[in-house]
Symmetry: D2
Subunit: 369 residues, 4 copies
């Protein structure tokens, strides 16, 4: 049987619910799981709400003081699913208390904060993960494997956009408040796009970017666009928006290599489109293949359902947390397939470069500390 | 807080795992759930395997004797996820012992057996459900609502096929054995198609059908096709196959009405294509809409994730069991949206009519006892 | 330079216009064309209308008497694009006068008439073609080549439907009149589906069919459905309807073989979906390929436009007439890729078998004279 | 009957063939055509090739000296389908000789040349058109009408890319030679994207761009990317590449407005995806509509084929030349739906701004002379 690990969670909203669900579903993915998660305690601001969350999600205890989690000796993994403004201090304190940590993205509200979190947590010697969960979409992992296999040849292009359309809504107010969120679409959606660019193609060298705020009273951006170059010489465009009417969760990217291409849309996350120039039948029946990522041989899928039985968005967290628990068990980093805090920091540097470019009008070379 | 109900499960394979997962995920869908399921005991033939399943799925006990479940007073709901040949006796005995019952499809191996199960269980006065889980796909429920709303006008056509491609595999041997399975693609996949035809359009009046077995040594069909008429005058085709290479779980159907049409493919179960002739913009921009069923206003979705965050195949069981628990709590039938044992029986009559038509070469009018 | 051939055309409506256009576009497809068509004369009932058609389409002369075409010595090819009720006599007379003939589908209003046309024209020794133009869609030809190559293995399934939605319109009245049209959706749309079944899979052995007329005052069918078996053992379903709201020209078919599958939709006629089980990359990136049929290596496409520049529906006639002119020049039959009058007759026998099965309720074995 | 107009054409390759074909197909689109084109003479460098082209395309004469076309009094419309380096002088000379002119895009090899062409031709007082034929795709025209109708609300985003994959080929060498072509993907493909941005959204205010050349020995760009802002405040990305493996003619664009969105892909040029937030049915069946642009009410389609019978890429030229002939007949400009030489010049200014931004690394405000 697996050893157990106590989970302490900060935040019970969208991400808290998604992470909790994943801890409970782990056993359905692999058996035995690398470590058996025990939901020890959950923290949140509102006493009544966090109490209900504890009962609903199956946590033994709850608290309105995140420092209680940090002090709780039963807890081995601190899961920070709180808003951006609560990423730094609790995460650092938990690590200093010897707990492994996972923190939602963006890691910090800017690169400076993200760097600080990374440095302090790394110094504490614990395992750390930045929750770029889209690395754990089967199609994204397969894409990485295909790129690494060399089947696509040299990569020339990467274009990605993350489009949603709730920007005119009034809900989730903290996401529109710069002091809490740090940025708008850039840090919320753009960080995902940037992380995938780095994961699938490599480091971003330079960005020519711009920000747009369609509702003038807002202190954060509603959208960003950038033309980018990679260290490898590949070029591309990045974009994110909360004002793309009709696009609900359209994280789309495409990679063009000298001998093949890949294309993806999160609204159809079980699919990957794959073009392989070297695989042309005698009859000339060449084209993009619609790969339905539900075969046992596909990443993460061996332990789910039979072919054709698709998984949902929430399963990315099951894969992610499974990966984290295995890393903790084995005492290794979550990289290269998991994003660690260095990845969280590097994504923040690119975000900051977009902001700098937007302000100066100049192409900005991304530099790391 | 909700009252609890004890669950006793027969079967720990594919369906047992899917149902167990759903019981544990219920709280993520609605809170509080109608009844709080307690996983009391799971039964299966193999002692070691069922013991592991109990631990993995979270059942308190396990047994190799399904009669122990029937006798277990802690159990209020008997969940029969076992193979077709074990549907009749355990289900009937559980009902006679006063337990509510859910049984996987097909209810019986033929209409006679299905009728017997229905009659005996109904006489016991318990709540009964036949696990036609595809009624609980959000797109299917929305389709039913659209049909009922009259927006499509008179229905003229229904065409459906359920295509998979593992028929040449050696696994799941019991599914190829007539004495256990009753039939092949017809009862396994065709029953789903028939149930959806009934759910979405109405009773099937007559079938002109045929069966095909591509591997001669098999005692069950590998595929069936039928031309059908409905009581309403609508006409259509039905089909199921385990030999449709490249189609993994392609349950597809299309409805054409006088003023609109709907189309669905289970491989993209979060989507429904909807054509509404009465909704033509001034610019003539008419066409099939790709509806992504992830809005809070869509069936079952209010308590899942934000728009665009898709759900997986397994979620149909969460919706189904939630519906069942609500019916048990309220002391009502699972109809019309849930399939009860009468629906299980009626689907079996249509299956038998297909077999009779295939053998005689004649169009067969479906008659119910 | 090519020799010339004089064209005499009967009919100036939909098909007359499509054929005329194709004769004029031939030079754009191949140069030099096999024979250079000269548009000699066009015949139609309405003097003013046929005079305008002649000018518009570029015919030197016009007439209201098709017998004038038959008697015209300048004419080498008689193109019968008239309504179904005018297929038999003019075509036979033209052949007897030594002219090569092409006749729109369905060849006759029933199998008896089609047989008579075939026999008499064949006896005249001229080249004959039944205008099943969908054989000349690049994707259909490629499908045939893939089937013949054996890449799909043994064929198990063929399912096809031809769906349109203008059945509630008042126009084209002759198509709803049994005495002129012979049948409704069956002969108009179903004949195409049947011809493709024969072209792509082989002879149809038996049909279990039904006809539906949704507007009771009509003397022809609005839709038909059939479950079918082929001589090879393959099985399938066929369907056609003029009442499939939102489907405009949806001729769809799918072939499933033991090692691969093909799928097509005429609304996207430049595309073919191809699944080849033997072509799985190391990474498991298997799936249906969307083949865009615009490469020089694809059937008929060497002389059109660069890759990705799609062709339209009308181009099928260019390919068809090019094929016919080459056959006339070479003194050979249009088969196997073109449909000759025997193919026209055989399709009519299958149509008649559907009607017979619909009336008797029995599976009908197709028998040829 | 229509009056006639004599056509003199420079160039017999890809574009020459496409234009010739369109002149001959005009009568199939509308009858009578606005002016009846007479193919007088075609000019090209290679005597044998141009002689064959004349015969094939139906020109009465041919010449190897374009000045002969300019001097030919039978010619009323000079059609410049030659390579970019032959756009300026012949077009200007033809206009000075009083001939109406249409010139392929890009109008000049840079903005200075384009400006010169525009000014001199405008001064001559003839009708002028820059052959941005994609304005004449039915879906593009419908998009423009929808934008103008206000149904989308304020436009926030425009993203477009024109992707092809023949960049590694050796053919069409002039397109890789800067002295003849002016630029690579930017002027060839990017000019189309820029023109559509202007046609659908409005003037481009500023660009942050970059160019990439993947084959170092080339003197032209293989790809470009840019982040852009419009005068209206809308923002977006533009891109073109000849190195997008598997993308054959993928001119894709998407518009997001406050109340709706549009999306298009030239590889499926008969379709437009349309999302209208104000058109939500009671059942919540909202989503992108796949509009098949084949109805008589759709732009340009009234005179083609019945619904669902798609047109091909080449038909854009039929619509374009029909539009031009009507403008010539009526003595009016081709705008706003046709692109005139001012539009050709303005697109060139944006191209130059991309080059300037790529070189300086700075955001460049587009300024017009």
């Amino acid at each position: 049987m697996s050893e157990t690990i106590g989970i302490g969670m900060l935040g019970y909203a969208f991400m808290g619910r998604a992470h909790s669900n994943a801890y409970k579903s782990l056993a359905y993915m692999t058996w035995p799981p690398p470590l058996e998660p025990q939901l020890v305690s959950i923290a949140g601001r509102d006493e009544a709400a966090v109490a209900e969350a504890a009962e609903r999600f199956g946590f033994a205890d709850h608290t309105t003081d995140w420092r209680a989690l940090v002090a709780d000796e039963r807890i081995g993994l601190f899961d920070n699913s709180g808003p951006n403004g609560l990423h730094a201090e609790p995460t650092i304190e938990a690590a200093k208390a010897g707990k492994h940590v996972i923190c939602e993205k963006p890691l910090g509200r800017d690169a400076t904060e993200a760097y600080e979190i990374w440095q302090q947590v790394a110094a504490a010697g614990v395992t750390h993960m930045c929750a770029f969960n889209y690395r754990f979409v089967p199609a994204v992992r397969l894409a990485r494997e295909i790129v690494e296999s060399g089947e696509l040849g040299e990569i020339h292009h990467f274009r990605a956009s993350y489009l949603q359309d709730w920007g005119a809504a009034e809900s989730d107010a903290w996401r529109f408040d710069r002091s809490i969120a740090g940025s708008g679409a850039l840090g919320d959606l753009g960080a995902h796009v940037i992380d995938l660019a780095r994961y699938l193609v490599g480091e971003i060298r330079a960005v020519s970017g711009q920000l747009a705020t369609f509702w003038p009273e807002r202190s954060v951006d509603d959208a960003f666009e950038a033309a980018i170059t990679f260290d490898t010489g590949a070029v591309g465009t990045l974009e994110a928006s909360r004002f793309a009417t009709g696009r609900k969760n359209a994280l789309r990217w495409e990679i063009n290599g000298a001998r093949g291409s890949l294309a993806f849309d999160m609204e159809r996350l079980n699919e990957l489109e794959v073009y392989l120039a070297d695989s042309t039948p005698a009859t000339g029946a060449q084209g993009f293949r619609r790969v339905l990522l539900t075969e046992a041989e596909h990443p993460f899928m061996a332990n789910w359902w039979p072919p054709g039985h698709i998984i949902g968005w929430e399963h990315t967290f099951v894969h992610e947390l499974h990966h984290l628990l295995a890393a903790i068990r084995d005492g290794v980093s979550v990289g290269p397939h998991g994003a660690d805090f260095e990845d969280g920091y590097r994504a923040a540097e690119v975000c900051d470069a977009v902001v700098a470019s937007a302000q100066s009008g100049e192409r900005v070379t991304v530099s790391y500390r």
